[in-house]
C-alpha cells in the first residue's frame, strides 16, 4: 500500500494533467496564453483542512473570495470549491474578456456577466479536475453547473463540512494569464468512503493491488 505522501504525489500529477487540459481549453477560448498548475495536493482531516484554508483566506484572499462550487454524487460524494481572491477578480475577468474597466468600478460588486464568466471558468477547471479523477479511477461522478458566490467574510466553515467523517483535499491553483498571476485554491470536501474508494483504486492502478 502506498503511503500518504506518494498518494498525494499521484493526485498532484493527476490533477495537473486535468488542469493542463483546462488551461489549453481556456487558452483556445480567450485567445491568450494561460498557465494553470497545482503545486501539490494535500489530504487533510477536516480540522487540519480548516486551518490550512483559513491561512489562505486570511493571507491571500483577505477574507473576501469569489467561489465557484459544485456538489457531486453518485459513487463519489462531496463538494468542490474553487476559490479566488475577490479583489483580483475584476482584473482577472477583464483579462479573460479583453476589456478594461474604469478604476471606479473596482469594488467587490460583480454583475451577472462577471458571474457567468466565472461560472464558465469554474466549469472548465472543476470539470478537468473531477473529470480526470473520475476517468482515472473509473468511478462515475455526477454533478451540475457550478454555483457562483462572493463571500466578503469567508472562513473555512463555508467550505469544509466536519460531519460524516469528511476529509479534505486541499490544493492551490496558480493561474497565470499572460504574466498576471492569481493564486486560487481548490477544496474538495468528500466523505471518507469516497476518498477511500479513490485511494484504493489508485493503489491498484499504481501498485497493482
Amino acid at each position: 500500500m502506498a503511503d500518504n505522501i506518494s498518494r498525494e504525489d499521484i493526485l498532484t500529477e493527476l490533477f495537473n494533467v486535468g488542469v493542463g487540459q483546462a488551461a489549453s481549453t481556456l487558452s483556445d477560448i480567450i485567445d491568450k496564453r494561460i498557465g494553470l498548475t497545482i503545486p501539490n495536493v494535500r489530504i487533510l482531516d477536516a480540522a487540519k483542512g480548516k486551518i490550512e484554508l483559513n491561512k489562505y483566506l486570511l493571507n491571500v484572499a483577505e477574507g473576501a473570495v469569489m467561489v465557484s462550487s459544485i456538489s457531486f454524487d453518485s459513487q463519489l460524494e462531496g463538494k468542490v470549491s474553487l476559490l479566488f481572491p475577490a479583489d483580483k477578480m475584476h482584473h482577472f475577468i477583464d483579462l479573460c474578456l479583453h476589456e478594461t474597466r474604469d478604476e471606479f468600478e473596482n469594488s467587490l460588486e460583480f454583475t451577472d456577466i462577471d458571474f457567468d464568466t466565472i461560472k464558465e471558468i469554474g466549469n472548465i477547471v472543476i470539470n478537468s479536475i473531477i473529470g480526470e479523477l473520475s476517468n482515472t479511477v473509473n468511478i462515475p461522478v455526477e454533478y451540475t453547473l457550478p454555483d457562483i458566490d462572493v463571500l466578503n467574510d469567508a472562513n473555512a466553515e463555508h467550505f469544509v463540512d466536519c460531519e460524516d467523517y469528511r476529509l479534505v483535499l486541499m490544493m492551490f491553483l496558480a493561474f497565470d494569464i499572460e504574466g498576471t498571476e492569481i493564486a486560487g485554491a481548490i477544496v474538495i470536501n468528500m466523505t471518507l468512503n469516497s476518498l477511500d474508494d479513490i485511494l484504493n483504486k489508485i493503489d491498484k492502478l499504481y501498485n497493482g493491488r
Binding site: 483556445d28 479573460c96 474604469d102 456577466i113 462577471d114 470539470n127 473520475s134 461522478v141 453547473l145
Partner: protein
C-alpha cells in the same frame, strides 16, 4: 438538439429567430456548420466530455461574443439527455442581450456619476481653499491658523514640547504701496508669503494675519537648535533687494517670536508676546538704519 456526432435533430422557433435560419435549413446538418462560432477545439472537447461523462457544460456570452449571431449575446448550456433510448445533446441557448445592454447602461450611469462626483470634489477643494486660505498670497488664513493653533498647542501640552509662534511684519509696506502701486505691493506680499513658506518646515503653518502681518506656527520645537535652523533661513532673506515689476525694492521684515510654555499658556498670550518682540525688533532696525544714515 443534436446527436453525439453533431447532427441537428431539432431546431426550435426561438433558434430560428435568434439565428435567422429556418428549421428546414438546419435539420440534418452539423451544428458547427450552421453555427461556425462552434467550429473550435473547445466545443469539440466539450462535446466529447459531455458524451462520455454526461456532466453539463456552460459557455458564457461574455467569453463567446458571436456564438449564434452578431446581434445577440447568448449563454450556452449543454446537457446530455436520453431520447427514445438514445443519448442526444441538448444545446440550450439563452438570450442575455438585454442583460448586457442593462449593464452597459448602468456602467454609463456610474461613469457619469463618477465624473460628477469628481467635479464635486474639485469644487469642494476650491471651497475649502476659499474658506481656509488667503486669496492673495495662498497661505493659510486666520480660520485655518485658529484650527491648527489649537491642535498644535494641545500636542505641545501633551508631549511636553515647545510651540513657537513667529510674528512677521513687512517694514514700510505702506511706502511700497504708495511708491510702486497696490498691484506691485500685492506681489511683494505674495513674495513674502513664499519666502516664509520656503524657509519653514512642512508642518509649520504660515498665515496671513492681516494687512502686512504674518503669523507662523512652529510646532514640535524640542531644542533651541530646531528653531535656529528656521530662523537662519529667514534671516538670510529678511533684508534684501528684490526686483518686482522692474522695480528694485528694498524688502525688510521685523520678526518677533514667542514660545509656549515660556511666553504664555494660550495662543492669545503667544501672539501678544510675539507682537511685542516684533515691535522691539522693528525699533532696533529703525535705530540701525538711522545710525547707518548718520554715519
Amino acid at each position: 438538439m443534436i446527436t453525439e456526432d453533431l447532427e441537428i435533430t431539432y431546431w426550435n422557433p426561438f433558434m430560428e429567430r435568434l439565428s435567422g435560419k429556418k428549421s428546414g435549413e438546419t435539420l440534418g446538418k452539423k451544428v458547427d456548420q450552421v453555427l461556425p462560432a462552434l467550429e473550435r477545439p473547445f466545443f469539440y472537447s466539450a462535446v466529447e466530455r459531455l458524451t462520455s461523462g454526461g456532466n453539463p457544460v456552460f459557455f458564457s456570452a461574455a467569453m463567446h461574443r458571436k456564438l449564434v449571431s452578431p446581434d445577440h449575446r447568448v449563454n450556452l448550456k449543454m446537457n446530455r439527455v436520453m431520447l427514445e433510448g438514445r443519448s442526444a445533446l441538448l444545446l440550450e441557448f439563452i438570450d442575455v442581450t438585454n442583460q448586457f445592454q442593462r449593464i452597459s447602461q448602468l456602467r454609463d450611469y456610474v461613469s457619469q456619476l463618477s465624473h460628477l462626483n469628481n467635479q464635486l470634489k474639485q469644487k469642494e477643494k476650491v471651497i475649502e481653499k476659499l474658506a481656509y486660505y488667503d486669496k492673495l498670497t495662498g497661505v493659510a488664513n486666520r480660520a485655518l491658523f485658529d484650527k491648527f493653533a489649537d491642535k498644535y498647542l494641545s500636542m505641545a501640552r501633551e508631549h511636553g514640547t515647545m510651540l513657537g509662534l513667529m510674528f512677521v511684519d513687512v517694514n514700510e509696506f505702506k511706502l511700497i504701496n504708495d511708491t510702486y502701486g497696490h498691484n506691485t505691493g500685492d506681489k511683494v506680499m505674495t513674495r513674502v508669503a513664499s519666502l516664509l513658506t520656503e524657509s519653514t518646515r512642512k508642518n509649520d503653518i504660515v498665515c496671513r494675519y492681516g494687512g502686512d502681518e504674518f503669523l507662523v506656527l512652529l510646532p514640535d520645537i524640542r531644542t533651541v537648535r530646531d528653531y535656529q535652523a528656521i530662523a537662519e533661513r529667514i534671516e538670510v532673506n529678511k533684508k534684501r533687494h528684490i526686483v518686482q515689476d522692474g522695480y528694485d525694492i528694498w524688502l525688510s521684515l521685523s520678526i518677533g517670536i514667542s514660545f509656549y510654555p515660556d511666553d504664555g499658556a494660550t495662543i492669545g498670550d503667544l501672539i501678544e508676546k510675539a507682537d511685542e518682540y516684533m515691535y522691539f525688533n522693528k525699533h532696533q532696525l529703525r535705530a540701525q538704519q538711522k545710525d547707518m544714515f548718520s554715519e
